[in-house]
């Protein structure tokens, strides 16, 4: 039963309150997710089943109610005419429909806020890579190798310190390289969020910075077949991308649902304001499918995805020794001044394939207990080709061997037991294991290894009306056996074992709807990575020798994060401060002497450990000036300090802010939600750099202007989402500190971008729609 009360004040300041009860036994349903679809506003019911929205304008809306074990239910209401409604929502197990809605993700609000991308942000990022899309999350930047390789970075931490979970499975690839971007098709992703705290413990102990969850939508539970087509064109690089997705639920086989999705992308040489960047094209094809079969008390799902990419590496960034690098820096622009546009991808380049197969089963043990079992197999093949002389064999056969050739196969198994509200407590318990094999061919950089890990975790959350507490505990054991040629060229191996305990505690103070305070403290640890232990060689493109250290210890981190959220009539604000205190923070420390080779002398960087601290502040605020104007401000500040040598940490983002002005344009019969957006981004100069580590002084501050005009166009009942935007509209010449190619060339110039999204329904049976009875 839902009781909705509307309290009237000003035109756009209605309060919409309600209470959700079980239709059968009148029990309050807590943790139900309630969303006003038109406004994309969500909240959760409290332990009395109550929820409240304020600042609602007059109009017609639809409300979606989600709860574990329930079918999603949508009903319509009008503001302010609806005064009181009676509405039934079936919940208890006896009343469960024939088909159970399985993986209704328990959107556990953590004591650290979850940073989720909105649909608009996802829409706006279509055709970009995952790293670029993730930049919309507050605190997130990317570590780039040119315009096409972007590694997500949260609070200055990336690579092994930031865990990416692809459809519930830890993404396992060659994560050690700065030029190894995540192998995930962004078109597949319909939900992208960043989590920290006890919630993140479930995915591993090594998520020092946090966990990025990238997920497809849940398989449909509505009978019918629907689909979506996306088309993207970007003028810079003359990039085109297309994606198609179909999903459905059979009427004949009850509980059987499916989805199939595929995307293609091709781009050519990127243009900076003054020149083209030779060999910066990209070629990508990806596909995925999912199948689900859900019965009353159990369900199974299978998911498969494949990611294939070929990325050209900017020719001018390919260097042989330190002199070449210094020449490139002094020249200030690429040597190849006559570069033209081309889609051709030559050496140097990367070819990467990633395959994932996942099976998931769940079972309702009792009304409040569920068990989940998941198994996943992943295969990642990475081939990197250098621009070098071909051997006679290669010249005659035409088969060119990659210089770096790596295969990593990972199998993961997870078992999770979760319980719904029992005495205001909700929790999860689980076991997880991984077996991983890495094999290399060609040039040595990381060894062959067998990595075995096993972990167990438990989290519980206590929810009271104005307070919430949460605690999590996890234990992991890791066994790493590495195989490599030692200095005497003998094939040898070494076994290392690590184990550790991780904990997390959190508290939320929520005196009212307007103000929430989150405090979270936790630990994390990360065993040294194989490259840190054993690498020994020239890092291509960096003109430096990297030397591993097999005495590296476990990197440990203590984190405290506090977030305050303010929700007022015209102002929404979120401020987050955090500090990470590291013991054995692993970094590359420049040595004092150069190493002589046949290519000249190279600086040597040693994998070294130190005590370090990374702290910072994220700010996000939104001001609704009027019905038509709103503005938002985002800013981030990160400070990294190496306590052992009293110097800054390398590759920390400089302070940056983004001011956005949103203008809603008047709607018409054909145009729905038309809007105009002006985006201003300002990035300061990073002067906080360690001494003797960087090859060039940090680039200057820069300002970027972006514009977007977007609308939903209705044409003969078919809705089409259209967006036209311009990035770097002023064709600003700039270089970003976090771009490893900043030594060689400028960043991309203006790009005009067109995005079209067409969602369509092939056939669909009406969902249970409960119209509200006005009383």
């Amino acid at each position: 039963m839902v009781v909705v009360q509307i309290a009237k004040s000003q035109n756009c300041n209605f309060v919409f309150k309600g209470c959700i009860n079980d239709a059968l036994n009148s029990e309050h349903l807590d943790f139900a997710s309630v969303t006003i679809l038109e406004l994309n506003k969500s909240t959760e019911t409290d332990e009395h089943g109550e929820f409240e929205f304020d600042g609602i304008c007059a109009g017609s809306y639809r409300l979606k109610v989600k709860h574990i074990g329930c079918k999603d239910t949508v009903f319509s209401f009008k503001v302010p005419s609806t005064k009181r409604v009676v509405f039934k929502i079936p919940h208890s197990e006896i009343n469960l429909g024939e088909i159970d809605v399985m993986d209704k993700r328990i959107e556990m609000k953590s004591t650290q806020t979850e940073n989720k991308l909105t649909n608009e942000e996802l829409e706006k990022g279509k055709g970009q890579n995952l790293g670029d899309i993730l930049k919309n999350v507050s605190g997130m930047t990317t570590l780039n190798s040119g315009g096409t390789i972007n590694k997500p970075m949260l609070h200055g931490m990336q690579g092994y310190r930031l865990l990416i979970v692809n459809n519930g499975v830890r993404q396992e690839g060659q994560n050690w390289g700065n030029e190894h971007a995540p192998e995930i098709d962004p078109f597949m992703a319909k939900r992208i969020s960043v989590i920290k705290g006890a919630n993140a413990i479930r995915y591993g102990s090594d998520a020092i910075a946090g966990v990025v969850l990238v997920e497809a939508n849940e398989l449909p539970d509505t009978i019918g077949t629907i689909g979506e087509v996306n088309l993207v064109g970007l003028s810079n690089g003359r990039t085109g991308a297309a994606n198609a997705m179909f999903e459905g639920n059979f009427e004949k086989i009850k509980g059987f649902s499916w989805r199939i999705q595929g995307s293609l992308k091709q781009g050519g040489n990127i243009k900076t304001p003054n020149y083209y960047l030779t060999n910066t094209g990209i070629n990508e094809y990806n596909y995925s499918y999912g199948l689900g079969y859900h019965r009353k008390k159990w369900g199974i799902e299978v998911y498969y995805s494949q990611f294939n990419t070929e990325i050209g590496i900017f020719r001018g960034a390919h260097i042989g020794n330190l002199t070449d690098l210094q020449n490139a820096i002094e020249r200030g622009k690429p040597a190849d001044s006559n570069a033209v546009f081309s889609y051709k991808i030559d050496r140097p380049n990367q070819k990467v394939a990633h395959e994932l197969i996942k099976g998931l089963a769940h079972y309702h043990l009792a009304s409040k207990w569920r068990a989940k079992l998941q198994y996943a197999w992943q295969y990642n093949a990475r081939k990197e080709f250098d621009l070098r002389r071909l051997t006679n064999e290669e010249r005659t056969t035409g088969i060119i061997y990659p210089d770096l050739d790596l295969y990593i196969t990972s199998q993961t198994g997870d078992f999770v037991l979760e319980h719904d509200n029992i005495n205001s407590l909700r929790g999860q318990f689980g076991l997880s294991g991984m077996y991983q094999e890495n094999v290399y061919q060609g040039r040595f950089f990381v060894p062959n290894f067998i990595n075995k890990t096993i972990g167990a975790f438990a989290t519980e959350r206590l929810v009271k009306p104005h307070h919430e507490f949460e605690a999590g505990l996890r234990y992991d054991y890791k066994n790493l056996q590495s195989f490599f040629y030692n200095l005497n060229n003998v094939w040898s191996n070494e076994l290392l074992q690590f184990s550790n305990l991780t904990y997390n505690t959190g508290y939320i103070y929520k005196p009212n709807q307007k103000f929430n305070l989150f405090v979270n403290a936790g630990s994390a640890w990360r065993a040294p990575a194989p490259n840190g232990l054993y690498s020994n060689g020239i890092h291509q493109g960096l003109a430096s020798i990297e030397v591993g250290n097999n005495q590296l210890k476990t990197e440990k981190c203590l984190n405290i994060t506090s977030t305050a959220i303010l929700r007022l009539k015209r102002l929404n604000m979120e401020v987050s401060v955090y500090t990470n205190e590291f013991k054995n923070f692993t970094f590359l420390n420049p040595g004092k002497e150069y190493q002589l080779t046949v290519r000249g002398a190279f600086p040597v960087f040693y994998h070294t450990q130190a005590n370090a601290n990374i702290s910072g502040l994220d700010l996000k605020s939104e001001i609704n000036i009027s019905k038509y104007f709103s503005t938002s401000l985002k800013a981030m500040f990160v400070r990294g300090w190496n306590r052992s040598i009293n110097d800054y940490l390398m590759w920390m983002p400089s302070d940056r802010g983004e001011l956005t002005l949103n203008i809603s344009l008047p709607e018409s019969k054909f145009l729905k939600k038309p809007k105009f957006i002006i985006q201003n981004q300002y990035v300061t100069k990073q002067w906080r750099v360690p001494t003797n580590t960087d090859f060039a002084s940090p680039p200057n501050a820069y300002y970027l202007l972006g514009l977007e005009i977007a609308s939903n166009v209705t044409f003969q009942k078919q809705e089409i989402k259209l967006s036209f935007s311009a990035t770097n509209l002023l064709n600003q010449q700039y270089r970003e500190f976090l771009d490893r190619f900043r030594y060689f060339a400028d960043a991309a110039g203006t790009s005009y971008n067109l995005r079209i999204s067409i969602p369509f329904i092939i056939h669909q049976k009406k969902t249970i729609k409960n119209e509200i009875n006005n009383q």
């Binding site: 030779t278 020719r315 390919h318 260097i319 042989g320 020794n321 002199t323 070449d324 020449n327 020249r331 040597a335 190849d336 079972y363 043990l365 009792a366 207990w369 068990a371 079992l373 250098d386 621009l387 002389r389 051997t391 006679n392 010249r395 061997y401 210089d403 050739d405 199998q411 993961t412 198994g413 078992f415 037991l417 076991l431 294991g433 077996y435 094999e437 061919q441 060609g442 040039r443 040595f444 062959n448 067998i450 075995k452 096993i454 195989f483 040629y485 200095l487 094939w491 191996n493 020994n536 060689g537 020239i538 030397v547 190493q595 002589l596 080779t597 046949v598 290519r599 000249g600 190279f602």
Partner: protein, 188 residues
């Protein structure tokens, strides 16, 4: 409640079987050593000087780092010892000593002559150097040279092999360095 516990038992047992069976290891048998040899490297530079007034007088000077970049330091760094006021022809060869038998990489450089050039940077003394070979575009290559020595003295030469795809223009500052070796010189 009892039934829940029973169900739980079954599930935990089942999942333990799945988890453990995935983790079956192969008695820690070492993973195979890589089969494809790494692509050819340049580990050594050989300079062969022939006195043009007496072609039986041949001197060879070497720079050798047989295990390639990184790893152990170079094992041989010869000093070029030549006579004053003489003309020598100089042939340069580049070798990969990580392979058995050692591979002469010079023919491959010759094959891609239009993308390569050898440069000489003298310091401390004056030696006149002339290119004797050319690529298909009539640009100098530098595997064959003529050196004319002057007075007695000491100095050094930095011999650089540049790989210059699309950017070969007679300047040493574009492209990437394939080899860069310093030889001390003694003219007596």
């Amino acid at each position: 409640m009892k039934s829940i516990i029973n169900k739980l038992k079954t599930i935990v047992t089942l999942s333990t079987i799945v988890l453990v069976s995935c983790k079956k290891d192969k008695d820690l048998s070492p993973l195979p050593a890589p089969v494809n040899n790494p692509p050819e490297l340049i580990t050594s530079v050989h300079l062969t000087f022939t006195d043009s007034s007496n072609t039986t007088l041949v001197k060879v000077f070497k720079f050798r780092d047989p295990d390639g970049d990184a790893g152990n330091p170079p094992v041989q760094k010869d000093t070029i010892k030549l006579s004053a006021n003489k003309t020598y022809s100089l042939a340069i060869t580049f070798w990969d000593e990580t392979k058995t038998p050692n591979v002469d990489v010079t023919p491959e450089i010759n094959e891609e002559a239009k993308d390569h050039q050898v440069f000489f940077n003298f310091s401390g003394l004056t030696i006149n150097q002339f290119y004797l070979d050319k690529d298909a575009n009539n640009n100098p290559l530098g595997l064959l040279n003529k050196w004319r020595t002057k007075n007695n003295g000491t100095g050094a030469v930095n011999v650089v092999l540049m790989h210059q795809v699309d950017v070969k223009n007679g300047s040493q500052s574009s492209g990437e360095t394939d080899a860069s070796v310093n030889f001390p010189i003694l003219i007596q």
